[in-house]
């Protein structure tokens, strides 16, 4: 309580040292990514260039989404006054802190993809909104007061910029709490969290409609925003859990135990079911009503190139977490939990793949060097940035008012 170190001998000033294998591996992965993307973008084959852009968008969005999910996790734990996660809060903080970098990279990808016509060409192209042009598209023309390059880019900058500032400041407040103590940071974090959640709640569906749904600009679904939120939040939870487990394995975070893992696992379990719920509601209602302008989305994913993966997506992201994480002993076992997190992170990569590819490369999809290389590159970049940030501060928020509750958490 008041002075935290009374009843235990944890070293709260412990810091992660980012050296050796972790640093080398993340940098090598990043280098592989850069080389892959460079080769892909410089290719003479139009399909390869487009496929590289699609993968860049997929990974940039995934990267930004996971960092934003870190910010959401932080904000939710402040507004709900959750005590249990305070001992591991430095991890989502590091993710939130690098959201500005992720956003900037995604913005570059979007700008590049838009003006090179490798992305968003369904609504951004010559003559689409000109009634005299042979490529005139009345539906696109009807949406052009929303789907136009300046408005689209302005929204991207405004939305991601605001999320970045909020997430970055939330992390900063906690770092300054270490130095100054007191309840000032806590009070400010509480307020900012509420503001962030309102902004994110009201604008993120539009951001997701813009970034992903508009790849197939005729199609629309009101659920699409919440479906994407579920996907990024499950992914964010898995990343947090995985980092916690890996840090513990390297001898850090002695104060985090299987009770905290259990709670993280329960959140992954719950949000995986929530993801399936919104996935199913979107799919079932469109299938049931069978209106052509809506079924077109699933029609494309019903083609032989995608159909097996379409169902594997649901299997990985629903059946596996439900069957494994329903068991108390499994959730509390860090090896099994880590395995589920890895499977789910691959699963949601597939989820985003199925959202992005049919509208970009269409039937020319593949799982090849472009996919692997870009995924490795972004994973390396993410790992490097997050671990680097983690190494800059103590691993425990020693002056967090709920830290004591977290240390004694038992379920």
């Amino acid at each position: 309580m008041g002075t935290h170190n009374h009843h235990n001998d944890y070293n709260f000033s412990e810091q992660f040292t980012f050296t050796g294998r972790a640093k080398v591996v993340s940098l090598v992965a990043l280098a592989i990514g850069i080389v892959t993307i460079a080769i892909g973008l410089l290719s003479n084959d139009h399909v390869t260039v487009e496929r590289t852009y699609a993968n860049l968008l997929l990974m940039g969005y995934y990267f930004t989404g996971v960092c934003a999910a870190g910010g959401c996790f932080l904000a939710i734990q402040y507004v709900t006054q959750a005590g249990w996660p305070s001992g591991l809060i430095r991890i989502p903080q590091a993710m939130a802190y690098i959201l500005p970098v992720a956003s900037l990279i995604l913005l570059l990808i979007i700008v590049g993809g838009l003006f090179s016509h490798n992305l968003y060409h369904h609504w951004f192209g010559e003559g689409l909104t000109d009634p005299d042009s042979p490529s005139y598209d009345a539906i696109i023309a009807g949406k052009s007061s929303f789907l136009n390059a300046p408005g689209f880019l302005l929204r991207q900058v405004a939305f991601m910029g605001t999320y970045s500032i909020c997430a970055w400041m939330l992390a900063r407040y906690s770092y300054s709490e270490d130095l100054h103590g007191g309840l000032n940071s806590y009070k400010k974090s509480f307020k900012l969290s509420a503001i962030f959640l309102v902004i994110f709640g009201f604008t993120s569906p539009i951001w997701m409609f813009d970034t992903i749904m508009s790849l197939e600009a005729h199609w629309f679904s009101t659920m699409f925003g919440w479906y994407n939120f579920a996907a990024i939040f499950v992914s964010g939870l898995c990343v947090i859990t995985l980092i916690v487990i890996l840090l513990k394995k390297s001898g850090y975070l002695a104060w985090v135990n299987e009770n905290h893992l259990h709670d993280l696992g329960k959140l992954i379990f719950g949000f995986s079911i929530f993801w399936t719920y919104v996935w199913f509601a979107q799919f079932m209602l469109i299938w049931y009503a069978n209106i052509p302008e809506e079924t077109v989305y699933f029609y494309k994913r019903w083609e032989p190139e995608y159909k097996p993966w379409f169902w594997i997506n649901v299997f990985i992201n629903f059946v596996i977490p439900v069957l494994v994480l329903v068991n108390r002993d499994f959730v509390r076992n860090s090896k099994i939990l880590a395995a589920v997190c890895i499977v789910l992170l691959l699963g949601h990569w597939l989820d985003f793949y199925i959202m992005v590819m049919p509208g970009t490369v269409e039937t020319h999809r593949a799982f090849g060097w472009v996919e692997i290389g870009s995924a490795l590159g972004f994973t390396g970049l993410f790992a490097f940035l997050v671990l680097n940030k983690l190494s800059k501060h103590a691993l425990a928020p020693a002056k967090h008012p709920f830290l004591e509750e977290s240390l004694h958490h038992q379920i």
Binding site: G201, P205, S221, T222, M223, W226, K266, Y277, A281, E405
Partner: protein, 493 residues
Amino acid sequence: MSSHNESIIREPLVTGKDITYAKVTDDILLPVENKPNKAWWIGFTMAALGALLWVFSVGYTFWTGIGAWGLNKTVGWAWDITDFVWWVGIGHAGTLISAVLLIFRQNWRNSINRSAEAMTIFAVICAATYVVAHMGRPWLAYWIFPLPNQFGSLWVNFNSPLVWDAFAISTYFTVSLVFWYCGLLPDIASVRDRAAGLKRRIYSILSFGWNGSVKTWQRFEIVSLILAGISTPLVLSVHTIVSMDFATSVIPGWHTTIFPPYFVAGAIFSGFAMVQTLLLVMRKVLNFENYITMFHIESMNKIILATGSIVGIAYLTELFIAWYSGSEYEMYAFSNRIAGPYWWAYWTMMTCNVISPQLFWFKRIRTSIPISWVLSIVVNIGMWFERFVIIVTSLHRDYLPSSWAMFYPSWVDVGVFVGSVGLFFTLFLLFLRFLPGIAIAEVKLLLKSASLQQKSKLIKEGHLDSEQVEFFRNTLTKYDSVTDEEIKELETK
């Protein structure tokens, strides 16, 4: 649950001085063990008169047929389904509080779960009456279940969301009832142990032989968690399926993919508002201020704010996508809602559901009992209008302009609705009279960790951070059950 390690900055869940286990039992059983007061009788008489109106209106419907309602061939579904969805929605908070908040270890639920669950059950009963009243031939109500054809009916159409609804609601009702009743067992046993004569016999049977042994308590804990696990998906499933009654159709304004989670959020929103409406009166009339504290009121207001905003996001998303879709029918359905002949219903909905809860951003408003009470009713007015807007404005101007029509409720429509409110309050008032309105055993769990008494003791022992103690003292100023003197006593030297 962090028991004695709870941070001092957490607000107390039980206030009052000299609260002992015995005093908790005495306080909560007061209305059960004594003759009801005048306020109860006045309330009960009014509610019972409403229930009589319900019996009369529903009886009239059965006698003359559904033609007694204001329906016409364009608007073939109006107040009946509006009221049904309204009641089912209200019946969501109980299970959310008892199950979801238990899973999230929110121990402030301990003081409000009992009456919220009771409220849920009565609301679902009211909703179920509409299902039967809808049928025109209620003696064939069993046709909604898949009985073999030998019974003289046709095997049900499993593709119909109405059939899913019958399953969802009956499952929900059963599980909620079992959950509520299991939670009641130790408290019924407390009533039994203090009663005599016939009353003792009756409560003895109702308590299922509860003996308070360690073994019994262990089973009680296990069964609570299991039932919470079973109920949690039900919180989602019921209103999801209610939403599918509409969303599987091809009617603009009904068919949209966001409906399931949006309906669930709306249901929790209206359910919490109804809990607030009931509890604010109950805590005052039955002197429960020490158990249902300002923290509970404020927390519920925050949930109303959060869910109201989620509903707001859904409304705006629907509006946006109606335009974005480029479908002229979708666009017309929404422009007709906003500016058509039912514009007043749409704007009542928007004002009550989205704008009015935003007032809860102000601490002074969410800690004001009269304003919270008024707003809780405003929310449920808004939620009634939401269903009315979705249902009637989508139907009254269909694809064929020559059949466009308006809907005017008949006196029977009004009678059934007002009557169902009477029925609901009759059941709730009877519940308060015969069963403990707060979970005695669960509130007792809080005394050693989350009570003001316990926190004062810790502060007086004096090992706490003075800034945190100051923070705690400041949170107490909003409590109407904590006096300035009590706050002063906690001053750190």
